[in-house]
Symmetry: C2
């Protein structure tokens, strides 16, 4: 799903500006989807060119002008077509797990710090995703619970298996590796 389709999806819930679409992605959703201004604004431009959304310029008092986008009937059809297609697998890029694979090159203290940081990050993510009540729509509700379950499982696994990655540092065995 590229940024164009994602924007169409957000606009299917109601009109929004590019800025507001980006705001949505700073809440709990950012844990499973993200997009930057550098992809949102061009996407909205292309959608407008293709008549899948309509742009209404709105001059505001004491605020920069807004450009409010609304989905068109053609846009809703394009969105539904796209959603019905087979879904590609999740794309994950975890610097944490990659670092663990290479963790023999880290000092035991650095590994401990990394694990502590990660456990704290899981805790704050779990807290942030504890938001099923405030989310609008059954889909968003499900997604928050799903995220919470995953982060909880990750937290538990890391706590119970952290001993497997400490104590293997090559740096403890010889001071110089080079």
């Amino acid at each position: 799903m590229d940024t164009k389709i994602f924007c169409l999806g957000i606009l299917s819930f109601g009109d929004a500006t590019g800025y507001e679409i980006k705001k949505q992605l700073e809440g709990p959703f950012r844990h499973f989807y993200d997009a930057s201004f550098g992809s949102i604004y061009p996407a909205l431009g292309k959608l407008t060119d293709a008549a899948l959304v309509e742009r209404t310029e709105l001059a505001q008092d004491k605020r920069p002008d807004k450009k409010v986008y609304s989905i068109t009937p053609a846009g809703k059809m394009a969105l539904m077509d796209e959603l019905a297609k087979p879904i590609s697998g999740d794309k994950v890029k975890s610097d944490f797990l990659a670092t663990i694979v290479f963790s023999e090159l880290l000092s035991p203290a650095a590994i401990d710090q990394m694990i502590a940081d990660r456990l704290a990050a899981y805790d704050s993510a779990i807290t942030e995703l504890d938001c099923e009540q405030t989310m609008t729509g059954p889909g968003a509700h499900f997604v928050c619970g799903f995220g919470k379950a995953l982060y909880t499982a990750a937290r538990d696994y890391l706590e119970n298996h952290r001993h497997e990655i400490v104590g293997h540092s090559l740096l403890t065995k010889s001071e110089k590796v080079l």
Copy 2:
């Protein structure tokens, strides 16, 4: 962690060609990290220019020529410096969860199919990650177990909460939404 650092990490385990680095990313690791030829080959070129790796051309019988890369002492230092830096959070892009958020626009049959596909994908991922024995190094061992725990939690949550997302289709309430 960009592709250059990732390649340095793989090369810290031993010499490899670009093709072999890519091969590593088609096994269990692809679930948490990926890179294409379009980023691996340019990365190896830049690493060579920076003298962080060395290239040895190897003519082969009945096979295309190989370019075997080895990490240099400077490369190992650069890798260790990079690994010691604070780790950025995982980047996840889940078309599945995004589609669930927009699932009111899908037919109940399409939602059921999507869930069935996803459960099957989790099962095959869990099977593929059941490889702690064959993996070299404690880091890789940990990562496989971690992945298995996460996919198992995802599978369980989806099975136990799938009812929350079916039965909310707007298409069942009125045949035409447009």
